[in-house]
């Protein structure tokens, strides 16, 4: 099933969308990044360092990367600091004046129970920023392993798993997440594992496609001819050449994980009260918007938006630099 989707354009800005187009069309990805040039061994390490330095320099020149990183850094500081740096206790401090708009005492106002919205907003970063990256990491590890095995060995196992992956992909992630979390009960661990499991098929498909095109290249053939074991060929020969693909996939997955975790909390199937989680805060108070108490839900909404946008700006910059 090969369709006419040539490699990403030079600017590489739309590269991941293109890749998704290629994948949606069932295409095998070619030309993501050339294989590491074979050369005398001592040269290679230096060359790689050089390439890394070059990439870092290019990254720092992209405004999207700078802005995205700064936003993420802010939320990471909030997540690490937690209630040590919030102006009030985000969970256990109840002001008698509840549902008040922002004032000198409470910059962003108070919620239904009289808790400080700003403190809850800052502390709420923790849930998202712990759960989403862990889930993304797990899915990338599992998906890479599966994709490597399937793409390298092919055969009927590959055929069967590919079919199953296709089915899993035909069920919307949020819907499936809602079902699973409702079945298993919601805890942080369940949410992490659910999101990881749901994202694994997507990563698997991307990595498998990349492995398929790598496996045809001469360096793989020569490694096999010199009698290397399959594990070595996959882990030491193919895997390093997949690094750009996997890195991009990882950053993109973090963005989608934030998206999914927030949606699950909003649907009551994620992190539970009294946690200051953002999705949960919107779920508890979105109906108050119509009676004018907007600050309780709009600030968490903006927070979610800022994290996903920042993650995507960073992912996009990394992708563009990797493709360049």
């Amino acid at each position: 099933m090969t369709m006419n989707v040539p490699p990403p354009d030079a600017a590489g800005a739309a590269a991941h969308v293109e890749r998704e187009a290629a994948i949606a069309a069932g295409d095998d990805i070619v030309g993501e990044a050339g294989p590491v040039v074979a050369g005398p061994h001592f040269d290679m390490a230096a060359e790689r360092r050089q390439a890394r330095r070059e990439r870092r320099r290019l990254l720092l020149k992209r405004p999207g990367f700078i802005i995205g990183s700064l936003i993420l850094l802010f939320w990471i500081v909030c997540a690490i600091g937690g209630d040590n740096i919030t102006p009030n206790d985000p969970i256990n401090e109840f002001d008698v004046s509840n549902l008040r708009p922002g004032s000198a005492g409470h910059l962003l106002g108070t919620d239904q129970l009289g808790r400080d919205v700003l403190s809850r907003l800052m502390a709420g970063a923790r849930d998202v920023l712990i759960v989403a990256p862990i889930a993304a990491t797990l899915s990338v590890v599992a998906g890479t392993t599966l994709g490597l095995l399937m793409g390298y060995f092919r055969g009927w196992v590959d055929e069967v798993i590919s079919r199953i992956v296709e089915v899993l992909l035909s069920i919307p992630v949020v819907l499936m997440g809602l079902l699973i979390v409702a079945t298993l009960g919601s805890s942080r661990l369940v949410v992490i594992l659910t999101v990881a499991v749901l994202f694994t098929p997507i990563v698997t498909r991307t990595v498998r496609a990349a492995v398929l095109s790598e496996a045809q290249l001469d360096y793989v053939t020569s490694a096999r001819l010199r009698g290397e074991r399959s594990g070595f060929v996959m882990g030491r020969e193919i895997l390093p050449n997949l690094t750009p693909t996997i890195l991009v996939e990882f950053t993109v997955r973090i963005g989608y994980a934030v998206f999914t975790v927030a949606t699950l909390s909003f649907l009551g199937a994620g992190i539970q009260p009294p946690s200051p989680d953002w999705g949960l805060a919107i779920s508890d108070s979105y109906q108050l918007i119509q009676s004018g108490q907007w600050w309780i839900s709009i600030f968490p909404a903006l927070a979610i938006a800022s994290v996903v946008i920042a993650t995507n700006l960073v992912a996009d910059s990394i992708e563009a630099v990797m493709a360049a």
């Binding site: 187009a21 089915v167 918007i289 839900s297 996903v308």
Partner: protein, 317 residues
Amino acid sequence: MTRYIVRRLALSVVTLFLLVSAVFLITNVFPSDPGRTIAGPFAPQATVDQINETLGTNDPKLDQYGRLLKSVVTFDYGDSYQLRQPVTDLLRPALGRSAKLVVFALVLTVPLAIVAGMYAARRRNSFADRAIVTLGVASSSIPEFVSGVILQYLIAVQLGWFEPLALAPRGSNLITQLRYLTLPALALVVVYFGYIARMTRAGTINALDADYTRTAVMKGLPTGRVMRRHVMRNALQPTVSVIGIQVGYLFSGIIGLERIFNYPGLGLLIFNAVRAKDFPLLSAAVIVVGIIYMLCTLIADLVIAWMNPRARLEAVR
């Protein structure tokens, strides 16, 4: 072409079978007692047992699995535990309402996104191009309930231009219904515009750079003809494929949005069914969503095959 359609349909049937099995697995992991759910916490155990007997929830799992498979064909999923009505009667209006919202959102998004994407592609690296690409990244990554809640506050509550809730009063005409649907549809535009625009841009750039386009220009065809006959036909393939996938997601993936705007479509139906552990309703809704998704990707594939004979040939393999 016929051969291609047959192969593609057979694949869909297999996928559907696997989906139904997955749904059965998940709904049977729930520790549940439908008889108790229906009769309430104070009913005598004998009543509960009898209801379970009538519903067939005490039957061997294999029989229940067989029944679920059969109901996919007969479209009879029994009664909802919670609302005691045939599931199909609940599904049909919800499906209709979802379809209205999805079609409205698509009509707003697709032409706009395609025009923007092609414009950006023809003026690569210009300010307009950068703006479209950057906006696309930013907006398409926001969960739609987030864009929904922000729009609801800004446009409905602050400006008062549209209704904050999406369901028009009973018996109102289409125009009124669409007015009520505008905000949730706009929330979807925010999410999907960037995605489709970027896909179109990428496809168009590839087609513009292709040899056949250069040939067409060099042999002196007018620009309009080159764009229509040579560029668009090839450029829009990824776009079509993505729209197919997105429509499938739109029918169910917007549970959050339907909740914000209190719009009783398929998403809200599924949300309530999950909360009430109403398995007949839940299984039926998930299966319907799966079928819609498969139909949409199928149609998208057929359109692509129609646009590109090469895909037709190679996809059969």
